[in-house]
Symmetry: C2
Subunit: 223 residues, 2 copies
C-alpha cells in the first residue's frame, strides 16, 4: 500500500518535472541538480564554480535546506540570484517546490541554475526536479564503499565529483575499490577527483562543465 | 494530502514500535538505534563496541542497508548474531521490519541489540523502531554545521558521538561552533569526541554506555 502511494507521489512529481524542464528549455536555461550526503562539500563546490565560472555563465542558485539559510549565506558574496527552499523536515526537494521558485528568477538573464539539494544520498535521487542532469558529490571521508551501498545516485548522475582528496592520506579510503565499484554501477561515468578547499583537480571539472552546459541545451533542443 | 498520508504511515509505525518496545521489555533486552549520515562511522563504532564490551553484554546487531551486506560482513569476526535488513531503496528502517526480524534472535540470551540504521541524517529520525534510545553519530569531516542544519536527530538522540576527531587538524571544523549549535538544540545531551579508527576518546563513551544500558531497562520497568 505504501508503495502505491509512493508511486502516485512520484508520478505527480514526474509530470511537474516535465513541465519545469519544458519551461527551462524554452528559456534556454540549464538546471543542474547537485546531490550528496550531508557535508560532502556541495556548497564549497558551488563557491568554487561561482568564483571561476561566474564571468562565463550567468548563474542562479536554488538552495535546498531543511531549516536555516546557512548555505545561501555562504554564497551571498557573489552577485548572483539565490533562492532558499526550506523543506521544514522534508528529506529532498521536489519538482513542485522548484516550479514555485522559478518565477523568482529572471530566466531571460540566466544561463544555468545550480540546485543544491538537501544533504541526503538516498531520497533526492528518486525525485526528478526537471533538471538537465544530476551531479553526484561524495567525500573521501565517507569511505570508499558509497557507490556500492547507495547505487541509485551513481546510476542516475551524469558525473561524480569525489571531494576531499586531501584527506585520503589520513583515512583508509581505497581509490581502486571506489573506482571498481563505481564502474560496475555506471561504467563510463566521468569521475573528478578534487579538493574543493584546496582547489586540486577542479580545472578538469571546469573544462568538462564548460562543455556539458551548452551540450545539455543543444540535446534538449533536439529532443 | 501528502502530509496526511505521511501521518497515517507514522501512526501505524508508532503503534508497531510500541509493540516492539513492550516485547523487548518483557525479554529484558535493550535496543539502541544508531543514526548518522553515510560514512560517519557507525560500523566502525560497532566494531569497537563488540571488541571491548562483547564480554560484558550479550550483543546482537541489526544491520539496515539499502542493498549489500557489506557492514554485516565487517562484523562477522565477532561471535554475535547479526541480521541484515535490505530496504531495497528505502531510506530508513521502520518498526515493521524490526518486528519481523526480532524472531530471528534468541532474545532470552541477549542483553542489547544495536540497530545500525540506513545512512541518512534525516528520515530515520522520524521513525520510532521501538528502541530504548537513539544514538547520533556525526563525523568532523561533515563540517561543524550539522546540528544546526539537521536538528531533528540531535533533538531526539540520548547522546552524540562526534567521530573522526583525528581529521580535525586537516579540516576547517570548529568545535566551539559545533558545541554551541548542539547546546541550542539539546542543552544537556552528552557529547563524546572520539576517533573510532584510532580509539581516542572511546573509554569515556564505554563508561557512559555501561550505565545507560541497565538504566534504560530499569526506567522501562518503572514506566
Amino acid at each position: 500500500m505504501e508503495i502505491k502511494i509512493m508511486k502516485n507521489i512520484l508520478d505527480r512529481n514526474q509530470d511537474k518535472a516535465e513541465e519545469v524542464r519544458k519551461h527551462l528549455r524554452e528559456k534556454k536555461v540549464v538546471m543542474l541538480n547537485i546531490i550528496s550526503s550531508p557535508g560532502a562539500g556541495k556548497t564549497t563546490l558551488l563557491e568554487r564554480i561561482c568564483e571561476v565560472m561566474g564571468t562565463e555563465f550567468r548563474i542562479g542558485v536554488i538552495e535546498g535546506d531543511i531549516t536555516t539559510d546557512r548555505d545561501a549565506r555562504r554564497l551571498k558574496k557573489f552577485e548572483i540570484p539565490i533562492v532558499v527552499i526550506n523543506t521544514e523536515g522534508g528529506c529532498h526537494l521536489d519538482s513542485y517546490s522548484i516550479s514555485r521558485v522559478l518565477s523568482m528568477f529572471d530566466l531571460d538573464n540566466l544561463d544555468v541554475i545550480f540546485v543544491e539539494n538537501v544533504g541526503n544520498l538516498i531520497c533526492p535521487s528518486h525525485f526528478d526536479l526537471g533538471e538537465s542532469f544530476k551531479l553526484a558529490v561524495v567525500s573521501t571521508a565517507e569511505g570508499d564503499d558509497k557507490p556500492a551501498k547507495y547505487p541509485m545516485l551513481f546510476r542516475e548522475a551524469k558525473a561524480v565529483i569525489l571531494n576531499k582528496t586531501d584527506l585520503i592520506p589520513h583515512t583508509n579510503f581505497n581509490i581502486t575499490a571506489f573506482v571498481g565499484d563505481l564502474e560496475e554501477i555506471n561504467a563510463n561515468i566521468p569521475l573528478f577527483q578534487v579538493s574543493c578547499t584546496r582547489g586540486d583537480g577542479l580545472d578538469e571539472f571546469y573544462r568538462w562543465l564548460r562543455k556539458a552546459i551548452p551540450t545539455a541545451l543543444s540535446q534538449e533542443d533536439v529532443s
